[in-house]
C-alpha cells in the first residue's frame, strides 16, 4: 500500500480504534499485571498475543479492563528487562499449550479422535472432533490440536516424533 493511503487508513482507523500509547512499564499488583504508560498511574491490564498460532513471539497487545487495546509492543524485546520478565511470566500462565512428547495411542471412531498422549505437563487423554477446524497445520511442521473442551495441544514437529508416536498420530490427523 502506498504510504499516503496508509496514513489515510490510519486516519480513519484512529476515529474508531483507541489510539495506542507508548511502550509501557509492566508490574505486578498482587497476581495481576498492571501497565503504566508515560509515567501515569498503573492500570490493570491483560496481555494477549496478536498471533498466538503463527507468531507467538510477535506482537503483544495490552488490553484494559474495558477490553480496549490500550497499547502494543511488536515483541517482548521492546520492553525493559523488568517488564519483559513480567510479560513472559504472564504469557506463560495465560497460554496453556501442552506440548505432546509422545503419542501413546489414538482411536478414530466415526468422526471422533481419541488421543492418549504424554505431554510436557504430564499424561493426558483428550477428544478431538471436526478435524478441519480443530487440527491446525502450521508451518513448517507444527500441528496444533484443540480438543472439544478448548484445551490446546501442540505437536512441535510431526517428523520429530518417534516412529511409534507418528504411526499412532497420523490416522487421527
Amino acid at each position: 500500500m502506498h504510504p499516503s493511503h496508509l496514513s489515510q487508513v490510519a486516519a480513519i482507523a484512529s476515529v474508531t480504534v483507541t489510539a495506542v500509547a507508548d511502550v509501557p512499564v509492566l508490574s505486578w499488583v498482587g497476581d495481576r499485571v498492571h501497565a503504566a504508560f508515560a509515567g501515569a498511574v498503573p492500570i490493570p491490564v491483560t496481555l494477549v498475543q496478536a498471533r498466538p498460532l503463527t507468531d507467538p513471539d510477535g506482537m503483544i497487545a495490552i488490553i484494559d479492563a474495558r477490553k480496549r487495546c490500550v497499547g502494543e509492543v511488536a515483541s517482548l524485546a521492546e520492553l525493559s528487562v523488568e517488564s519483559r520478565a513480567v510479560a513472559q511470566l504472564e504469557l506463560q500462565r495465560r497460554y496453556c499449550i501442552a506440548v505432546i512428547l509422545r503419542v501413546e495411542s489414538t482411536l478414530v471412531d466415526f468422526g471422533s479422535r481419541y488421543w492418549q498422549v504424554v505431554t510436557d505437563r504430564g499424561p493426558r487423554r483428550f477428544l478431538v472432533r471436526d478435524p478441519q477446524r480443530a487440527v491446525l497445520r502450521l508451518p513448517p511442521d507444527r500441528i496444533m490440536l484443540r480438543d472439544v473442551q478448548g484445551n490446546r495441544f501442540l505437536i512441535p514437529s510431526l517428523a520429530a516424533l518417534d516412529a511409534a508416536s507418528r504411526l499412532a498420530a497420523v490416522p487421527a490427523l
Binding site: H2, S4, Q8, A11, I12, V15, T16, V29, G30, D31, R32, P44, P52, Q92, R93, R94, Y95, C96, I97, A98, L107, V108, D109, F110, G111, S112, Y114, T119, R121, G122, P123, R124, R125, F126, L127, R129, P131, Q132, D147, V148, Q149, G150, N151, R152, P171, A172
Partner: protein, 756 residues
C-alpha cells in the same frame, strides 16, 4: 457436598483436620498446579476462609472478610480462579477448560459468601469423561460412543420394525428357505459324480438336474422376495424416522441448536438415517443369510469329511482376525479420504459463494492454487486408501486359495487311496463347491461388522436427538405451577397485556460462561424499551430469553406478573412478533411469508399489513405480485424489501409484545425512513423492545437501558440519560455523532487527495 472428589490422603488429612474446627462448605479440585502441570490442587471454602491445598499442605489461606469478590477467568487453553481484595488479585488455582463450569460456580459461591449471602452450591453431576472407560466425552453427560450398549441399540432398531413384523417374519422365512436351497446343488453334484457318472446310472441324471434347477430357481425367488421386503421395510422405517427427527429438531430448545451447526443436524437427519437404511437394507439380510449359511456349511463339511473340514477351517482364523486387523486400519483411511474430499467441496462452495470478493480482490490465482493443493491431498488420500484396500483383498484371496489348495491336496490323495470308498470323488466335488460358498462371506464379515458399528453409532446419535426433551413445558412443571396458582374454577386464560419484567436474571449459553448477570428491567404494557450497548454486550440474549428460546439460569421473567416459565409456550409465542436484523424468508410466495404466523389470515389483512409496512407498492412491482416466490431459489429481494416484508409479517401476527432487533441496520437512509414510519405504526399500543445501534432510531422509546458486559449499567428516559454528561448513553450518542461527522469529512478528504 457438590464438588466432593476423592482426595489424595495428605490433602484429605488437611481438610479433615480443618473440618473438625470449621465445616467445609465447598471443595473443588483443579487439574493444573501452579506450574500448569496436570496435577491436583484443591480449593476449600468454609464460612470464613478460602484455602488452597495441595500435597498435604495449605498453600494459600484468605479470610473472606478481607476479600471483595471472586472470579473465574478463561485463559488460552485453561482458566484460573481469582480472589480480589484491597491488595489486588490473587490467583487461587489454574484449571483446564474441562473445569470451567465448576470453577465459575465456585467463584459465584465464594462471592456470595463474601457478600454475606447464602451461597448457592450447585450440583455438577455430569462429568466430561465416561465414568466407565474414562474416555473424554464430546459433551458433559453425553453417552460414551465407545461404550455403546450395542444390544440395547439393536433392540431399539428392531423396535422400529415392530409395525412391519409380518413382513419381517416373511423376510426371515425367505432367508431360511433360500439358504436351504443353496445347500442342495453341491450335494447333487456329489450324486451326479458318484452315481450318475461313476456307476453309470444315467436314468437318475434328469432327477438331479431338475433338483439343481429347482434349487436355483427357488433360491433366486427367495432372494428377490427377501431383498424386496428389506428395501420396503428399511425405506418406510427411515422415512418415518426422518420425519420424526425433523419434527423433534424443530421442537428442541434453541440452546440445543446453538451448540451445533445446521450442517451437523442435516448430517444427522440424512447421513445417519441413510447409514441406518443401508444397514437395514443390506447389512441385516447379509448377516442373517451368511450367518445361517456359514453354520449350515460348517455342519455339512464336517459331516462330509472331518479331516477335510479341518483343512478347510484352517484359514478361517486368519481370514477373520486378518480382516478385523485390516479394517481397523482401513477405516481411518476412509475417514481421511472423506475428510479431504469434504475439504474440496467446502473450498469449491466457498469459491463460488465468495466469487465477487475473489474477483474484486484479484485472488483467482490464489484460490486456484489452494484448490489444487487440496485436490492433490485428496488424490493422495484416495490412492492410499484404494491401494490398501486392494492389497487387503488380494492377501485375503491368497489365504483362501491356501485353504483350497490344502483341501485339494489332502482330498485328492484321499480319493485315490480310498479306492472309491470314502472320501469319494463326489465328496471332493461337493466339498469344493461348499468351500467357495464358505470363504466368500468370511472376508466380508469384518467389513459388515464395522458397517454395523457405524450404523449403530448413527442410530445411537439419532436416538440421542429423539431422547432430548423438547421445549414444551414439562408436565411436572405445569402441574406444580397449576397447584401453586390460586384456583379459580372455570377461569379463562387472560389475554396477554404485555407487561414485561426481568428480575435478577442471569444466563449462560455454556455452563460457567455467564453472558447476562443480574438483569433487572421493567417494561409497562404498551410502552417501548430501547436496548443499547456494544456488539456482544448481551442485548440479543435478553431478546432470546424474552422469546423463551432459552431459560434463565437464575432469576425470573414475568409477563403481566406471571412467571414466563408457567405460561403455555404456544399461546405466549403467538403473542410475540419479531422483526430481525436479517429477516429470514421461507421458500414460498410473498403472501404465505407475510401470513406465516397466522396462516388463516385473509388476503385483505395481508394487503393492509403490507400497506402499513410500506411494501405493498414494492410487491405489486414484482411480476407475480403477492404470488412471487421468494426465499431460497426464489426472487432476490433487497435487504430493505425483506425487512419490510418481515414488518408486514409482524403486523399480520398482531403481537402484544413486539421485538425489533436491529430492524433498520441494513438499509439505506431513505428506506430506513420508510421502515421507521412502518415501525411507528406497528409499535402503537404494543409493548416494544427494540435494539438499535443507530441511537437516533430509539428517540421515541419511553425508556432506554444500556447493556455492557451482560449487565444493565444505565436506565432511564432519553432525556434523563442525556442529562448525565459522562453517562454511558450520553457518551455513546456523542461519539456516534462525532464518528459520523468525522468519517464523512475524512472520506471527502481522501477522495480529494490526488493519488501519488
Amino acid at each position: 457436598m457438590p464438588f466432593t472428589t476423592i482426595l489424595p490422603p495428605p490433602d484429605e488429612g488437611v481438610l479433615q483436620s480443618l473440618t473438625r474446627r470449621e465445616p467445609v462448605l465447598l471443595r473443588v479440585s483443579a487439574d493444573l498446579d501452579f506450574d500448569q502441570r496436570f496435577n491436583r490442587v484443591h480449593v476449600a471454602l468454609t464460612a470464613s476462609r478460602v484455602l488452597v491445598v495441595a500435597d498435604g499442605r495449605i498453600l494459600q489461606c484468605h479470610a473472606l472478610a478481607g476479600l471483595t469478590t471472586a472470579r473465574a477467568d478463561e485463559l488460552y487453553g485453561s482458566g484460573r480462579l481469582v480472589v480480589i481484595g484491597p491488595a489486588g488479585e490473587r490467583t487461587l488455582c489454574y484449571f483446564t477448560r474441562n473445569l470451567v463450569p465448576e470453577f465459575t460456580a465456585a467463584a459465584r459461591a465464594i462471592t456470595e459468601l463474601i457478600l454475606g449471602r447464602t451461597p448457592s452450591l450447585p450440583e455438577m453431576s455430569e462429568s466430561c469423561s465416561c465414568e466407565r472407560c474414562q474416555a473424554p466425552l464430546a459433551e458433559r453427560g453425553a453417552n460414551c460412543p465407545l461404550c455403546v450398549p450395542r444390544g440395547r441399540i439393536f433392540l431399539r432398531i428392531l423396535g422400529l420394525m415392530r409395525p412391519h413384523r409380518r413382513q419381517v417374519v416373511l423376510l426371515m422365512l425367505g432367508t431360511f428357505v433360500g439358504v436351504a436351497m443353496q445347500m442342495l446343488p453341491p450335494l447333487a453334484y456329489r450324486e451326479i459324480t458318484d452315481h450318475v457318472i461313476g456307476q453309470k446310472h444315467l436314468q437318475e441324471l434328469p432327477l438331479w438336474i431338475g433338483l439343481i434347477l429347482g434349487a436355483f430357481v427357488v433360491s433366486s425367488a427367495c432372494r428377490l422376495l427377501s431383498q424386496g421386503i428389506a428395501i420396503r421395510i428399511s425405506g418406510r422405517v427411515v422415512t418415518d424416522l426422518q420425519s420424526r427427527l425433523h419434527e423433534h429438531l424443530s421442537r428442541l430448545r434453541l440452546s440445543y441448536h446453538n451448540r451445533r451447526e445446521a450442517g451437523e443436524m442435516v448430517g444427522r437427519v440424512m447421513n445417519d438415517t441413510g447409514e441406518l437404511q443401508g444397514f437395514l437394507t443390506n447389512g441385516i439380510p447379509y448377516l442373517l443369510v451368511n450367518a445361517v449359511m456359514l453354520l449350515a456349511i460348517a455342519v455339512i463339511l464336517v459331516a462330509l469329511d472331518p479331516l477335510l473340514a479341518l483343512m478347510a477351517f484352517l484359514p478361517v482364523p486368519v481370514l477373520m482376525l486378518g480382516g478385523a486387523w485390516f479394517w481397523k486400519r482401513l477405516i481411518p483411511m476412509f475417514h481421511n479420504r472423506d475428510s479431504r474430499r469434504g475439504r474440496i467441496y467446502s473450498l469449491l462452495g466457498e469459491s463460488l459463494r465468495g466469487i465477487k470478493v475473489v474477483k474484486s480482490l484479484n485472488q483467482e490465482g490464489r484460490r486456484a492454487l489452494e484448490f489444487s493443493a487440496a485436490n492433490e491431498q485428496a488424490l493422495a488420500a484416495h490412492a492410499l486408501t484404494e491401494r490398501t484396500n486392494f492389497v487387503f483383498f488380494e492377501v485375503l484371496a491368497l489365504v483362501m486359495q491356501f485353504g483350497t489348495i490344502l483341501v485339494w491336496f489332502v482330498g485328492a490323495r484321499g480319493v485315490v487311496t480310498s479306492l472309491g470308498r470314502h472320501p469319494s470323488l463326489g465328496d471332493l466335488m461337493a466339498f469344493a463347491g461348499y468351500m467357495a460358498m464358505f470363504y466368500g462371506p468370511l472376508q466380508w464379515f469384518a467389513a459388515v461388522l464395522n458397517w454395523m458399528t457405524g450404523a449403530f453409532a448413527g442410530a445411537q446419535r439419532i436416538f440421542q436427538v429423539l431422547d432430548q426433551a423438547t421445549e414444551e413445558v414439562p408436565i411436572a412443571m405445569v402441574a406444580s405451577v397449576a397447584a401453586a396458582a390460586p384456583a379459580t374454577p372455570g377461569a379463562e386464560p387472560q389475554p396477554i397485556r404485555g407487561e414485561v419484567t426481568f428480575r435478577n436474571v442471569c444466563f449462560s449459553y455454556e455452563r460457567g460462561k455467564e453472558v447476562l448477570r443480574d438483569i433487572n428491567l421493567s417494561v409497562p404494557a404498551g410502552t417501548m424499551l430501547g436496548l443499547v450497548g456494544r456488539s456482544g454486550s448481551g442485548k440479543s440474549t435478553i431478546i432470546g430469553l424474552l422469546c423463551r428460546f432459552h431459560e434463565p439460569d437464575h432469576g425470573e421473567i414475568l409477563i403481566d406478573g406471571v412467571a414466563l416459565s408457567s405460561l403455555p409456550l404456544d399461546g405466549y409465542r403467538s403473542a410475540i412478533g419479531i422483526v430481525m436484523q436479517d429477516p429470514f424468508l421461507f421458500r414460498g410466495s410473498i403472501i404465505d411469508n407475510i401470513r406465516y404466523g397466522r396462516p388463516g389470515a385473509d388476503f385483505s389483512a395481508v394487503v393492509a399489513a403490507a400497506k402499513a409496512a410500506h411494501c405493498h407498492d414494492v410487491i405489486l412491482q414484482k411480476e407475480d405480485g403477492y404470488d412471487t416466490v421468494v426465499g431460497e431459489g426464489g426472487v432476490e429481494l433487497s435487504g430493505g424489501e425483506k425487512q419490510r416484508l418481515s414488518i408486514a409479517r409482524a403486523i399480520v401476527s398482531d403481537p402484544r409484545i413486539l421485538i425489533l432487533d436491529e430492524a433498520t441496520s441494513a438499509v439505506d437512509s431513505e428506506t430506513e425512513q420508510a421502515i421507521q414510519e412502518s415501525i411507528g405504526r406497528l409499535v402503537q399500543g404494543r409493548t416494544t423492545i427494540a435494539i438499535a445501534h443507530r441511537l437516533a432510531t430509539l428517540r421515541n422509546a419511553h425508556r432506554l437501558a444500556v447493556i455492557e458486559d451482560g449487565r444493565v449499567v444505565e436506565q432511564g428516559t432519553h432525556d434523563e440519560l442525556m442529562a448525565k454528561e459522562h453517562g454511558h448513553f450520553a457518551t455513546m450518542v456523542r461519539l456516534q455523532g462525532e464518528l459520523n461527522r468525522l468519517t464523512a469529512e475524512q472520506i471527502v478528504e481522501i477522495a480529494c487527495t490526488p493519488a501519488i
